[in-house]
Symmetry: D2
Subunit: 172 residues, 4 copies
C-alpha cells in the first residue's frame, strides 16, 4: 500500500458511504461506546468470580474481512473482564492497567459466541481476570485475553470515595 | 456490586437512555465499527515504518469515568498499528495475532492526543509494531501497546490472493 | 534508591558472595540455561494439546523476596509452552513471537507447584498456548501466561529443513 | 515429536551431558538466578527514568538454536525494568504484576546487545516500564517488552516497612 492510501484509509475510510457515516457518528451521544459494543449481549451464568455470556456477532462490529473486529474483542475483554471483578464484590470502579488478547480464529456475522470470564485474583489493590471467546457450536477458541485492573480501596480515598470518586491520578 | 447489578450492567447499561440507544445501534450499517472509532483522526506524519496522528478525544468514546475508553485505545492500537505495517509496503491484509496495551494516564473529552506507531519488525510472515499515545500538550504518555500480525505472503495463497483474499483459516 | 546503587545492583549484585559466584558462572557450559531452570521438573500428564507438570521451587531460582523469580516463571512459560506445542505433532523448532505473564501470588522455596499448559491453537504457521501455575496444595493460581510461536512448515524451507534447520531470519 | 520425547525433553534434556549438569545445578547457592543472568552486564548510562546497558550474549544463556534464550530475555526485562523503576526513587521492593515480550530477531553468542529501559509511568502504586533490546552494531531491534510492577507505598505498610518488608500478600 502506498503512503497516500494508508493516510486515506486512516482519515477517510473508503469513499461516499463513509461520508454518510460521518454525520451519523458526530451525532452519537456521550459514552455511546459501551452500549454500541455490548448491545444484545446476554448473561447465561453469573456467580462470584465466573461469568458466561452469549453474543451473536453483529454486522456493525465486523472488520473488512467480515469477521468480528479485533478491537471489539479487546473491548469485550475490558467490559466482561470488569464485570467479573465486580462479581466478587469489588466496587464498580478501578482503572485498567493492562489488557492483552491473542486472536486464534475468526467469528463471522450472526455466529453465536460464548464469552467466559474468570477471576484469577482479586487482591486489595490488583484484580486480574482471564476472558475466553469460543464458538458456541463447536467450542473452538476464538480469542483469549487477560485484563489487569488497579482497584482503589475505600480507605485510600476516604469516605468521599463513593460520592465523588477518586480521579485516575489519585487512584493510581 | 451484587450479581443482579452486574448482569444488568452487561445486558442493559443503566436505564431509559440505553433503550433509546438500542434502536440507534440496531440501525447501524455493516462494518460501522472502524469509522466509529477513527472518525476525525488526522495523519500528521507518514513515512515507511513510522506514523504520527492527532486525535481529539470524542464524547462518544468516553467511559463511565469520562475519559477515553480502554477498548477504544486498544482498537486504535489495532487500526493505527495495521496502517504502519501497510506503510512499509505490506499488503493490506493479514490477521491480528496479539494486541496488548498498558494504560498509564487518562485522556479526557476534547483533549488532543498524539498517536505514534512504529514498526519494530516486518518480516516475511510476522509484523510487530509499537503504538504510543501521548498528551499533545505535555507529551505525557497515556498508553503504550504492541500489535502483532500474521502477514500471508502472496505465493502462499497463489495469484488469486489480491482479487479474492485468503480467508483467516487459510492465512494462518 | 540512588543511581549509584542501581548501577551496583545491576553490575555486581551485592558483595563478596557475588564475586565467588562470578567464577562459577563463567565456568558454566554452553546452553546451560534450560536445564538450570527445568532441573527436577516432573511430567504428571501428557496428552496431545495438554500437559501437567509438578515442580518443587528450588532455592537457586528464588528472588530477593525469597519466592520464585518472575524471570524463572516466564522461562517456564516458554519451555513448558513449547513442549505442549510439540505434543500435538508440531516439529521441535519454531521461534517465540510473544510471551506474556501475569503474576498473581508468590511460590516459596520447596513449595510444590503444578504447571498446566494447554494448546489454544496450533495452525500451519502460528501456535498459541496458555500456561497456568498453581499451588499444588490449595489450587490457588500463582501465575498465568501465554506463549505465541511462529512454526515454520517444512515446505517453506524445502527438504533441507530437517537436516539443516532454517535459521531465525528465514523462518519469520 | 511423540509424547514420550516431549516428556524426556522436559525431564531430562537430552543425555549424558545433562546428568553431569544435574549435580552442578543441585549444588548452586540460594538466589543464584539473578547473577546467573546478569553476570557481566555493564551499565552505560543511568539517569532518572532511563537506563542503557551493554550485554555480550554469553554461551550459558543460549537456546538450542544457539541464540539468546527467550526466557533470559524475559528475565532481563524483569531485572533491568525493575532497576529503572528504582532510578526514579521508588523503593527497591514491589512485585511484578505483568511482563510481556515480543521477540523480533536473534542475538547470537558473543554478540553485543544494548538494552534500553525507559519509565513510562511510576505512580503511587503502579510502575510501568518499556525495555528494548537492540544489536549494538546495527541498531536492529531484537526484542521489546514491558514490565508492570505494583509498588507498595510506605504508609500502607507502616513504619516497619523498610526494616521488615511487606510480604507479597500484604503488598497486593
Amino acid at each position: 500500500m502506498d503512503l497516500e492510501s494508508v493516510r486515506r484509509y486512516l482519515e477517510k475510510g473508503g469513499g461516499e458511504e463513509e461520508d454518510r457515516n460521518a454525520s451519523t457518528i458526530n451525532g452519537l451521544p456521550l459514552r455511546f461506546f459501551e452500549r454500541f459494543i455490548m448491545q444484545d449481549l446476554r448473561v447465561d451464568l453469573i456467580e462470584p468470580g465466573r461469568l458466561i455470556c452469549t453474543f451473536k456477532v453483529p454486522q456493525r462490529l465486523l472488520n473488512t474481512g467480515n469477521f468480528l473486529h479485533g478491537g471489539a474483542t479487546a473491548t469485550l475483554v475490558d467490559l466482561v473482564g470488569s464485570a467479573v471483578i465486580f462479581s466478587v464484590g469489588a466496587p464498580a470502579t478501578g482503572v485498567s492497567v493492562e489488557i492483552n488478547v491473542s486472536y486464534l480464529d475468526a467469528a463471522y456475522a450472526d455466529e453465536e459466541i460464548e464469552i467466559e470470564a474468570r477471576v484469577l485474583r482479586v487482591g486489595k489493590a490488583i484484580g486480574v481476570v482471564s476472558v475466553e471467546f469460543r464458538k458456541k457450536e463447536t467450542g473452538k477458541i476464538i480469542a483469549q485475553g487477560r485484563h489487569t485492573k488497579y482497584l482503589p480501596v475505600a480507605n485510600k480515598c476516604g469516605t468521599s470515595f463513593d460520592q465523588n470518586g477518586c480521579n485516575w491520578r489519585h487512584q493510581q
